[in-house]
């Protein structure tokens, strides 16, 4: 039983990581009905921006570095949208898919060129630098050690921090989308682009807003998880696959769905792999953990493409 609970906890901890890439992906899908395959890489470069500000080139306060990195990442996202994607008809998926894949490779190679492919040593940890609560995250554990509580379970403090941060991000997103004029316009564009134009919404600006918001959140997520999954250009490669599955599972146009999807994928992965490892004949499957999200993705897209919480009209692809 303890083992099962431990697996659940591990699954949730991993799931939080997937959510941080799934949520921005869904934001961009809502705005443009397109999948941004480069989402992971854009988040990764956001984390590197923070690294540069906090450690490599300057020695800023980590919180300040994070904010700057988010702004820079948002600007990068907006630039990509404006220059490379704006001129294409959103109903024709081919150019945009190819372009986002291209951006994926370019950003990855660019990062690899500048920072090489090895994990960086001195990774800034945002959670530790937080006023008041930072020491709780730092004091009793880093991700290398852990604390076992009375139930005999191993919970890592910075995972708790990550999940907390995720909840705060979700709340902020909910506020932005549902209680501001920009957010309303965004949801309008997501719902009916033609009518948005007829209401006077400048759709281009909203798209930029969506991309900027998504990239900023993606960068924040990457900065939070970097200490855990190491800071190197390929850090988001496997995460991307899980996040695709998470976004599809939760519903491609549902932000809450993406968050839940991330946790679901994490849980599923942890529990399934845990039990498969115990079965002799199948134990080698644990060497190919990516198989699970691929199968999940196929199953979801086959039977219920709108996922759990998405709207049926997502079918308009």
């Amino acid at each position: 039983m303890t083992l099962f609970l431990q697996r659940i906890i591990d699954g949730l901890q991993n799931g939080a990581i997937y959510s941080t890439v799934a949520i921005p992906m869904v934001l961009i899908f809502k705005a443009t009905t397109l999948i941004n395959f480069a989402q992971g890489e854009l988040a990764m470069i956001g984390a590197f921006f923070a690294f540069v500000f906090a450690v490599q080139a300057f020695s800023m306060n980590v919180i300040l570095a994070t904010i700057l990195a988010m702004i820079l990442a948002a600007a990068l996202g907006m630039a990509i949208e404006r220059t490379m994607l704006r001129s294409f008809d959103p109903t024709d998926h081919l150019p945009v898919v190819l372009i986002t894949l291209g951006v994926f490779y370019i950003v990855n190679a660019f990062a690899g060129d500048i920072w090489n492919y090895q994990a960086q040593g001195d990774v800034p940890n945002l959670l530790y630098e937080l006023p008041f609560i930072g020491s709780w995250f730092e004091g009793r554990s880093s991700f290398l050690t852990s604390e076992t509580n009375r139930l005999g379970l191993r919970i890592q403090h910075d995972s708790v921090g990550l999940i907390g941060a995720l909840l705060i991000m979700l709340t902020a997103l909910h506020f932005i989308l549902n209680r501001t004029k920009m957010g309303l316009a965004f949801r309008g564009v997501s719902s009916n682009t033609e009518s948005s134009r007829l209401v006077g919404i400048r759709v281009g600006r909203i798209l930029s807003f969506g991309w900027g918001l998504a990239c900023a959140f993606g960068a924040l997520g990457a900065i939070l998880v970097a200490p855990r999954i190491t800071l190197q250009p390929n850090m988001m490669l496997t995460v991307l696959v899980y996040s695709l599955a998470a976004a599809a599972f939760g519903g491609l146009d549902s932000v809450g769905g993406a968050a839940l999807g991330g946790f679901a994928v994490g849980l599923l992965n942890s529990v399934v792999l845990g039990y498969v490892a115990d079965v002799d004949r199948l134990s080698s499957l644990t060497a190919a953990p990516l198989l699970m999200p691929v199968i999940l993705l196929l199953v979801v897209l086959w039977f219920k493409p709108q996922g759990l919480f998405g709207t049926k009209t997502v079918e308009r692809v």
Binding site: L184, A185, S191, N192, R197, L198, G200, I201
Partner: protein, 239 residues
């Protein structure tokens, strides 16, 4: 007051390789209700889209709105200048609530009377108030049409474009609807350009009318005159 609210000259439009409009000319006077009749495929929707310069259409020509040349303006700007367009099929935001739809209608407004206007349309269409927190996509056809019209009027437009507002609605509802149009035109003085296929009712509330046939104007004149024209009667009034 016979100032010209909308003036369209040499309007051509196409979707990719397909030419739809071949030189449309029309004029709508301020405060009047003008109807465009035409069969399927004549280019009525395209005309309205071209007037708003929507990106989906490649159009060229001169369009003047309240004296201003809007031929090259973008749709957002045109709306901000006081034009509202209710597209074919209602054009509501299905996932958003009725209330949010109305709020979006007032997107270009910067004053603080928006809530008053919302209440006003709720008064005129009580069923919208009942369903104000419901997703717009769950409303019936007639209710969505009321919502779409209210949404358009939320921006307090000078000119209202309506694309086949009767499509898919029951006859009783259509009668009510057009009665409402007439009332709004009389109370607010809102100029209206209504595109319709089956047009008895439309002609009865209009002052002037045009007939669009395969991309250009075939007939034009006062509404009453067109209504009495036997050719028009046969083709469009089901006589």
């Amino acid at each position: 007051m016979s100032e010209i609210m909308l003036e369209v000259k040499d309007l051509t439009a196409s979707y990719g390789q397909v030419d739809v409009l071949r030189g449309v000319e029309l004029e709508v006077k301020a405060g009047e209700v003008c109807v465009i009749l035409g069969a399927n495929g004549a280019g009525k929707t395209t005309t309205l889209r071209s007037i708003c310069n929507m990106p989906v259409v490649d159009c060229a020509g001169t369009v003047k709105f309240a004296g201003q040349d809007i031929s090259k303006a973008d749709t957002g700007g045109i709306v901000a200048q006081g034009m509202a367009h209710v597209p074919q099929g209602r054009g509501t935001f299905p996932e958003l609530s009725t209330l949010e739809n109305l709020q979006l209608g007032a997107y270009v407004r910067k004053d603080n009377e928006v809530d008053d206007d919302i209440d006003r349309w709720f008064q005129m269409f009580p069923v919208l108030k009942e369903r104000k927190d419901q997703a717009a996509g769950s409303l019936s056809g007639g209710e969505q049409q009321m919502l779409a019209v209210s949404r358009a009027l939320m921006s307090r437009p000078k000119l209202l474009l309506l694309d086949e507002p009767s499509l898919g609605l029951a006859p009783i509802i259509i009668e009510d609807l057009f009665g409402t149009f007439k009332q709004i035109n009389e109370d607010e003085g809102t100029t209206m350009l209504i595109v319709e296929q089956n047009a008895n009712l439309a002609l009865s509330i209009a002052q002037s009318a045009y007939v669009l046939e395969t991309g250009s104007i075939a007939l034009s004149g006062p509404a009453a005159q067109l209504r009495d024209d036997p050719a028009v009667q046969e083709a469009y009034l089901g006589a």
